[in-house]
């Protein structure tokens, strides 16, 4: 078929020697005349977000969790949820998913003030917004180790987490399927496709940095990372000896809480075993859980 199309194109192109600079071949033109191309405006926010009385944070959670302000089950969402709580900003949480977000990723926040705005704040601008609201410190500037130790969470622990949640098939069936796939749809085929996509995405992410996935290596890295974080925390209440918990505490809590949370129904939880070897990290998580 394709050769035919090309023949058609060129012959039409050369014989119509019209005065326009670029001539669309007739069959293509006819095709596109039937489908006017338009650019749609950015996706609208979900309808239920309209009554805009309080700050609303959109996260992965279930309806019961949203009503009681329980911690989200997604580490990225939980990090920002915890941070906003720690710096003392009031907000409601709303159950949502990636498709509802203007940037395609959760969390995002719909501020209450000014009232006429419909500009949501994506996660990478949340800290700036919070600093403007309550004038808290930008902690990255205070300690050079902030970014350095944050890389442990963003890489080593995250990779081990991806493996444990998505690629370990027992955990995937028990936890990820229940939390991410089943609320999305009741259609079995769509569920199967979604599960496959999730697992493939996790696999691709892990294969970016190595030629094969080695579970023992990932766990070893995570164990080293926990040890380093435990040493960094030492006997302090919060990281970097701060009087109040801040962004780094929120980032650590986002993973330690979910790893230690038995209500999620983990089938095999090697990371929790590794984490429990460091009692100060476990106590840190228990202290911060009181905010919720």
């Amino acid at each position: 078929m394709p050769p035919k199309g090309q023949e058609g194109d060129s012959s039409v192109g050369t014989e119509s020697n019209s005065n326009s600079f670029f001539t669309v071949p007739a069959p293509i033109k006819r095709l596109f005349d039937k489908f006017p191309l338009t650019t749609y405006p950015a996706s609208e926010l979900p309808q239920r977000s309209q009554p805009n009385t309080a700050n609303q944070l959109f996260v992965f959670t279930d309806t019961r969790g949203a009503r009681h302000g329980r911690p989200s089950f997604n580490p990225q969402c939980l990090k920002w949820q915890a941070y906003l709580k720690f710096v003392g900003i009031d907000f409601d949480i709303t159950a949502s998913n990636n498709h509802a977000s203007p940037t395609g990723a959760l969390p995002f926040l719909l501020p209450a003030l000014p009232t006429d705005t419909l500009n949501p704040i994506p996660s990478h601008k949340l800290q700036k917004w919070a600093i403007e609201q309550v004038h808290c410190e930008e902690e990255q500037q205070l300690n050079l180790r902030f970014e350095v130790y944050a890389s442990l969470l963003d890489h080593r622990i995250r990779h081990a987490w991806l493996y444990m949640l998505y690629l370990d098939s027992e955990n995937f069936d028990a936890v990820a399927r229940r939390l991410y796939v089943e609320p999305a749809t009741t259609n079995t085929i769509v569920r199967a496709a979604l599960s496959h996509q999730l697992q493939q995405a996790a696999r691709d992410e892990l294969l970016k940095n190595s030629r094969y996935i080695d579970a023992a290596d990932l766990e070893g890295d995570a164990s080293g990372a926990f040890e380093a974080l435990s040493t960094l925390l030492g006997e302090d209440e919060h990281f970097f000896s701060r009087p109040n918990p801040g962004l780094f505490d929120a980032s650590v809590f986002a993973y330690t809480h979910l790893i230690l949370d038995d209500t999620l129904g983990w089938k095999k939880n090697r990371l929790a075993q590794l984490l429990r070897e460091h009692p100060n990290l476990v106590q840190h998580r228990d202290r911060l859980l009181k905010f919720f």
């Binding site: 078929m1 050769p3 035919k4 199309g5 023949e7 058609g8 194109d9 060129s10 012959s11 039409v12 192109g13 050369t14 020697n17 600079f21 670029f22 001539t23 007739a26 069959p27 293509i28 006819r30 095709l31 050079l144 180790r145 970014e147 350095v148 130790y149 890389s151 442990l152 963003d154 890489h155 080593r156 690629l167 370990d168 098939s169 027992e170 496959h196 697992q199 696999r203 294969l207 970016k208 940095n209 190595s210 030629r211 094969y212 996935i213 080695d214 579970a215 023992a216 290596d217 070893g220 890295d221 080293g224 990372a225 040890e227 380093a228 974080l229 435990s230 040493t231 960094l232 095999k268």
Partner: protein
């Protein structure tokens, strides 16, 4: 038993073109007595059963990846070959955190500088690979590595450093103009863009972005190093394993002579102490001479060997069987579906070869590999069913017909005796498109 360290070969006057390999070479040269190890620039990940370089071979035992090599050497020597033994608890924590920081931030920068920046890739990196690889790997591996580096740095949104992609876009535009028949072919010239021109004109935010990325990487290192001679404070006067990792990444940022040296410029401007430290570490671990390919492939004794601190040993000749396996492997890896089956199998094979896994873990990982194979077969079946349904639908609607005449036309396409068969009626193509 002599330990053998297999690495990617030398380039840019460094002993290896890969940061992890450089780190492993630096570590071995610091910790191992000189006659107890050999350095082999095999430059082919398939020499090791783990499929990765750097790989340390001790008889039939293979260990790959920098951290595993460090652990293995410590265990093998019962604690004697260990650079980190004098570190306190806090320093150990810093060592882990800074290694992770250097790897996670340094790798994208090197990817951008050596692979994604087109000028550097085509003028420097690609020829360097050409010199150190043997046939047929020199045609197979560089594009693979190039592609992998592009995927790894996609999220940074700096693909405009990649001129090839923009060039393609421009070519498409030009050929559209040519097809319109308005501009004679020989008058259309594609002006070759340089990165600096491009940055200057269209994408100034790229410069800001690169500025921010390099600052994020170098500033903590500069602050950590301060006036010390090594990154971690210690009293033994020896570098630690963290210094070896740092050397691997920083040397590749500093030493290569590239066409567009934005990374080196940033390093010199933002981190003068780190730059001096990198030079110091480089001459300590790799010797004072610039390392050339010949050093690795035809190591000589005598005076020359004294200069080079590294115990090079020429890699074995590539056998016909190995070449055949590489070619077949590449073919299979490029066939859709086969690729994924092979990937899953790779995971399984490694697991079974590795004695460290408990039987339970082994069976679970094997299960995982099996189940993802099953997933894959399901998607193959779905794709086949989908195509069949589409073809069926097209036949039933009448877009496709399998009448005898058409079939003959298709078969006799390139038979020259019937030139009229080649003539395709433009009208029928239009009908086909119109019917859509």
């Amino acid at each position: 038993m002599v330990l053998q360290l297999h690495v990617w070969g030398p380039a840019f006057s460094l002993p290896s073109i890969d940061a992890q390999c450089l780190a492993a070479i630096a570590y071995c040269s610091e910790v191992l007595p000189k006659d107890s190890w050999e350095l082999i620039a095999s430059s082919d990940p398939s020499v090791s059963p783990t499929g990765e370089l750097p790989a340390l071979q001790n008889g039939s035992t293979w260990v790959s990846r920098f951290r595993n090599i460090v652990d293995y050497l410590r265990q093998y020597s019962e604690g004697a070959w260990n650079l980190d033994e004098n570190l306190g608890e806090v320093e150990l924590a810093d060592s882990v955190a800074f290694s992770s920081f250097i790897e996670s931030r340094g790798e994208p920068l090197l990817d951008l500088s050596l692979y994604v920046t087109s000028q550097n890739y085509y003028n420097n990196t690609s020829p360097a690979y050409g010199a150190l690889l043997q046939w047929p790997n020199q045609w197979i591996l560089p594009p693979k590595l190039h592609g992998a580096a592009k995927t790894r740095t996609e999220y940074l949104g700096l693909s405009s450093l990649d001129l090839a992609a923009m060039e393609e876009q421009r070519k498409r535009d030009h050929s559209a103009a040519v097809a319109a028949g308005k501009i004679p072919k020989n008058l259309i010239q594609s002006p070759r863009e340089t990165v600096s021109k491009l940055l200057g004109r269209t994408a100034q935010h790229n410069q800001f972005r690169l500025e921010a990325l390099t600052a994020e990487f170098f500033e903590p290192l500069e602050a950590m190093l301060a006036r010390k001679s090594y990154l971690l404070p210690n009293h033994s006067g020896n570098p630690s394993s963290l210094d070896c990792v740092a050397l691997g990444y920083l040397a590749l940022a500093l030493v290569p002579e590239l066409n567009f040296p934005w990374l080196r410029d940033a390093m010199r401007a933002k981190a003068p102490l780190v730059t001096a430290y990198t030079e110091r570490m480089r001459s300590r671990c790799f010797g004072d001479v610039d390392i050339k390919i010949e050093h690795a492939f035809q190591p000589v004794g005598g005076a020359e060997a004294e200069f080079s601190k590294l115990p090079w040993r020429a890699p074995g000749r590539v056998s016909v069987a190995a070449v055949g396996t590489t070619l077949l492997g590449t073919l299979a890896d490029n066939t859709p579906f086969l690729r994924e089956i092979r990937q899953n199998r790779r995971l399984k094979a490694v697991v079974q070869a590795n004695g460290d896994f408990s039987p339970v873990q082994k069976s679970l990982l094997a299960q995982y590999a099996d189940s993802s194979n099953k997933d894959m077969l399901v998607s193959v079946a779905a794709a086949v069913a989908g195509t069949a349904a589409l073809v069926g639908y097209m036949v039933s609607v009448g877009l496709l017909s399998f009448s005898g005449g058409h079939a003959e036309e298709e078969q006799d396409d390139d038979v020259e005796i019937q030139p009229e068969v080649m003539h395709v009626d433009p009208g029928s193509a239009a009908d086909f498109l119109g019917a859509l």
